[in-house]
Amino acid sequence: MNITFSATHVIKRYGGVVALADGNLSVRSGEVLALMGANGSGKSTLSKIITGVVAPDAGQLLLDGQPIRFSSPQMARAHGIAAVYQELSLIPDLTVAENIWLAHEPTRLGRVDTRAITRRTTALLELFRGTIQPGLQPDTAVGDLPPDERQIVEILKTLAWEPRLIILDEATASLDTQQVNRLCELIADWKARDMAIVMVSHRMEEVFRLADRATVLRSGAYVGDVATAETSEAALVQMMIEGGVSPRQATTPNPGAIAVRAELDNIHTRTLHGVSLTINAGEILGLGGLGGQGQPDVLLALFGAIPYRGTISLDGAPVRFRHPHQAMQRRLAYVPGDRGREGLLANRSILENLQLPSWSRYGWFTRMRQAHADGEAVAKTLRLVRDSLRAPASSLSGGNAQKLVLGKWLLRDPNVLLLNDPTKGIDVGAKGEFYRLLTELRNQGVAIVLYSSDDDELLGLCDRVLVMRDGQISATLQGPTLTRTALVSASMSAAQAEVA
């Protein structure tokens, strides 16, 4: 079971872009290592190299003291190294059990031993029992599972390979508090059983709770190693970003007069059960609570993207959008959290992405020069880090890609901005800039509705936070009542009530 693993001076280029300039990492049995860095710092690339998904251009990997080169993920797994991927590696058409044992099915006489598979899968699911629904069984189709349970299946799938070194790449991002706690217990158990664990995480709290040591990368290069017991959150952040963090926006009341922009009255959808709220101009309204309480549906119903029952009024008059197009004409904008799937045309240029909702403004024979100038102006406002507006959107790092998704709506000059967990998986530095942008927009009188899974974000940015539970609003926090304790207890008390 014992393992020592190290990577030294690992380099990886994609075309002209250097994803990893100098990757270094070492980990051994019974140790939890946090791999940290801002987005685009090369964390994902380094973990992909360790697990054999991509081959390094240069550098050395040492496994148990011997140089090694993985040509495929299978080979890495054969040596006991496996990763829980951030982008899910599950097959929606197969069942939970089939997914977990895919490519290493126990067989008897060439036939897949389904009984053994079911038995072992049940045992694995037992690890998370209590935090998952009883309906989650070995024969449930993965396509029918909510994101948190998919993530759990993903973790169990990796565990089924019985790795000596396990890499958790943002594995907690879509889990709720109970599930995170269970995972922490499991990690402690793995550690006690001499596994080596590498965790890639943006959540400082988890890093300090679990990791023994942190390795920090910045812009593809190794910055240093620190023992978590001997450092602080601020010091780590300092290592991760040059020039320090953009400070969180302190909430100052908006000087402008507050006018009601939109009103939702008793809205029902599949996940909402009677939600009423008002959205004010020049205000950032936060939607909080545990994941999966129906928050995104508030935004989608308002944007006309899903059917609903109830009344929505805009500027005092009732409206009923049947298609996002109609909502856009009334100057609503929706920024999805899933950048890859909903937000961007990855292989089209940055300019095309920016202008996609706005082309009609440039006439039948597109006035490209004007479009380009407007695009440049927005890119400047966004402080978009890019080569040129003609570069494909896929060349941007996560944080910049998210700015682009926001930017394409800014060109349309929206007055209601709906944000669906926009900073998920973005690093601290990029978040700071994103917050600055939102605050500017708010001060210009834009009404902003922000659903976020990050409590700090809600606390630091919002004028008012609605905590949601079971498709209803369970608490409204504002001014002096908007505190971490209030937020956590409003979302947690519900969860505890359910457990009881």
Binding site: S89, L90, A103, G110, Q293, Y308, D470
Partner: protein, 324 residues
């Protein structure tokens, strides 16, 4: 949290996606019986069924490719190629050894055609539709070069078993049972899981350790092999070789797969449905021939089926949008 998990049983249900094909089958049989009162008379029924046998084998191969996320537009040409290769190798008055050689040569031709497709798609990373459309001309051209005009001779001793009805059950049903039996065996192996995994999400399958390229290659090779079987079946049924015999079968095979509930984007469906789909296609053809309408109605009907199948999920989503 009350996210009701409603679907564990659905998963099993959705595997039975050929329910729709079964309904169509019953309808088609009913209309056939109306038009042709002696439809169920054994000699007529087995004669009818026999004409579906080659398509059945072909559709089984097409299903495997579609399940793995591809499509094979060259199956018709492969049928022709295997057909003429086998007939040419037979020659006049063949010995037993030569018969064996002819069958092997036909199968090898099919396997080679499948390997050509598979190598281009799996390792050359070319688009399946474009690739197999292009190779269909290569393969079809080769068939024409081998036998420019229909001809050849097949000894009676070889084609007689094909026309027989062992145990009074039509040969077609025996072959159907054999195909289903083989598929049932495959379903118990890793291969079937790999097939569905590759068709459903190739990237996820790759990072999990599934040999994606190999699975794709093998799906096309199986399809080529089965197309060759279909070509040999046609040789036995017609007692001649014809380099254009498979041309119209490609569309039919895809229609059968679609009707059988296999998703064209891959990862979902199965061979049982496709076999039912073949019968639906066949019975529709006899309806059209009995209804005294031009034969291009069949092509029209086939194309509409594919269009509806492609549009179906979108239409369904549109309908469901209306209600909360």
């Amino acid at each position: 949290m009350q996210r009701t998990l409603k679907r564990p049983n659905f998963a099993a249900w959705r595997q039975q996606s050929f329910v729709f094909a079964l309904i169509l089958l019953v309808l088609a049989v009913a209309v056939n019986v109306q038009l042709q009162p002696n439809f169920f008379k054994p000699s007529i029924l087995s004669g009818n069924l026999r004409t579906y046998l080659p398509l059945m084998i072909l559709a089984a191969g097409q299903t495997i490719v579609v399940l793995a996320g591809g499509i094979d537009l060259s199956v018709g040409a492969t049928v022709s190629l295997a057909n003429v290769v086998a007939v040419q190798t037979l020659g006049q008055n063949p010995s037993a050894g030569q018969i064996g050689l002819a069958l092997l040569a036909g199968l090898a031709a099919g396997l080679a055609a499948g390997a050509l497709n598979g190598l281009c798609v799996a390792y050359g990373r070319l688009q399946p539709i474009v690739t197999t459309f292009a190779t269909s001309f290569v393969i079809g051209g080769a068939a024409l070069a081998i036998m420019p005009s229909p001809g050849g001779f097949v000894p009676e001793s070889l084609s007689a078993p094909y026309r027989s009805n062992p145990l009074a059950i039509p040969m077609t049903l025996w072959v159907a049972a054999a195909l289903l039996g083989l598929w049932a065996l495959v379903r118990q192996t890793r291969y079937r899981r790999y097939l569905y995994a590759v068709g459903s999400n190739p990237l996820a399958a790759y990072v999990t350790g599934v040999p994606v390229a190999l699975i794709r290659l093998s799906s096309y090779m199986l399809s080529g092999l089965l197309a060759a079987c279909a070509g040999i079946a046609l040789m036995l049924s017609n007692s001649t070789g014809d380099a254009l015999i498979g041309t119209t079968m490609t569309l039919d095979s895809i229609v059968a797969v679609v009707l059988g509930g296999t998703r064209l984007s891959g990862g979902h469906g199965g061979i049982a449905g496709s076999l039912i789909g073949v019968f639906v296609v066949g019975f529709m053809r006899s309806i059209i021939s009995f209804a005294n309408v031009p034969s291009w109605w069949q092509t029209l009907a086939n194309s509409l089926i594919i269009l509806i199948a492609l549009a179906g999920p979108g239409l369904w989503a549109l309908i469901r949008r209306r209600n909360v």
